[in-house]
Amino acid sequence: MNAPMPLVKKLRVATTSLAGCFGCHMSLLDIDERILKLLDLVEFDRSPLTDIKHCGPCDLGFIEGGLCNAENVHVLREFRTHCKIIVAVGACAINGGLPAQRNHLDLRDILEEVYQTEHLLGRAGIPNDPELPLPLNKVHPIHEVVKVDYFLPGCPPSADAIWKLLTDLLAGRTPSLGHGLLHYD
């Protein structure tokens, strides 16, 4: 029979994907059965896994993706306000990643080519619904806007790297990734 769990207050964790591809979240799920152990230790607040829409007071905020539009900036600031520790997860959160490949192009030129001029793409005009967040002129990593406490590089960071960071933080250690876990690709 399992020993009863000690009554430790679970850490609250929020996660989000800004200008990312959800690949880092998929990599989090790649921790496989360790997720059961994780759920003994943490409970999720705002996250694509819970569908909670706004972040309450949290111990840990995982940010995937960089900043490509105004909504990304609002969400990031909400996380920074409510999370004691912010972790930038993955290449896009750390240096802009793939979305930042547009940074050497003019934003208007991109929108016009995609929505107006390129014949194989749509010709419906540049979307201007007020519900749509405005794109930023350039894509930025999140440390340019808020203070980031820890960085977890990778595209995506491997499940083992995510697990190492989580278990280090839960144990109160400074996260440290050795050879094979620290990867920029």
């Binding site: 290449a91 750390i94 990643g97 094979g180």
Partner: protein, 235 residues
């Protein structure tokens, strides 16, 4: 009696005329560096190999070893400064490892792993650096250039061709130029067999039609950290 100096408390033998870097390398001790290459004269530009010699900073690739000198290399102080220099390299170019063919075989990336660089720290510059895809066999992606000038030296000294040159000033102006009327690589006598074609420590000079041919896990620096590889290669 052989001549020695102290490197992080360890005796390193050297022959007169050897730099601190050359002596350390021969002894299998890694001093972080990017612009230095064992086959070429020291350039001394990247400053990553800066050590403390008898308490004063100096470039280990250009400073001659002297008997009895006390050299600090992998101290927290020096590695912190090196990490900061690496972060500056990363923000002043466009270093997107996931889409780079050199990833896993890149000296800049491996050095950043070695020094546990977790983020670029500074604001990104995102400079606009168009690629040169004109040559039939070689792609030049200047986004990743760290201005080590190894291609300049290799082309001049080994290939006898003088294909590359350094020029311009400042983060946005300084870059590698191609010595042809058009400024394009296709209009030079550059060839895939040139020494300069295989000298680039980062992902600027890339052979075409060979991308990502080694799977992740089997690339040069997947196997062991760059410092271990220097140890393994020592005679």
């Amino acid at each position: 009696m052989s001549l020695t100096f102290q490197l992080d408390g360890e005796d390193i033998a050297f022959t007169p005329g050897q730099s601190i870097m050359q002596a350390a390398r021969a002894a299998g001790v890694y001093i972080p560096h990017l612009c230095w290459h064992p086959d070429f004269p020291a350039h001394g530009s990247c400053k990553l190999c800066t050590v403390k010699v008898n308490g004063r900073f100096g470039s280990s690739c250009t400073m001659e070893a002297q008997a009895g000198m006390n050299v600090e290399n992998r101290t927290a102080e020096l590695d912190d400064k090196r990490r900061t220099m690496l972060q500056m390299f990363f923000v002043e170019g466009n270093h997107f490892c996931p889409s780079c063919e050199k990833s896993g075989n890149c000296a800049l990336q491996a050095t950043a792993y070695e020094l546990k660089m977790m983020s670029p720290h500074f604001d990104m510059f995102y400079p606009d650096r168009p690629v040169d895809a004109s040559h039939p066999d070689v792609l030049l992606d200047f986004n990743r250039c760290i201005m080590c000038s190894l291609c300049v030296t290799a082309s001049r000294e080994v290939d006898g061709k003088n294909v590359f040159a350094m020029g311009g000033r400042g983060i946005l102006g300084r870059r590698i130029h191609i010595n042809s009327e058009s400024g394009r690589l296709a209009d030079t006598d550059f060839a895939l067999t040139d020494r300069a074609a295989s000298i680039c420590p980062v992902g600027v000079i890339l052979p075409k039609r060979r991308g990502f041919d080694v799977p992740i896990g089997k690339r040069t620096y997947d196997k062991s950290p760059i410092s271990e590889q220097v140890k393994e290669k020592a005679p």
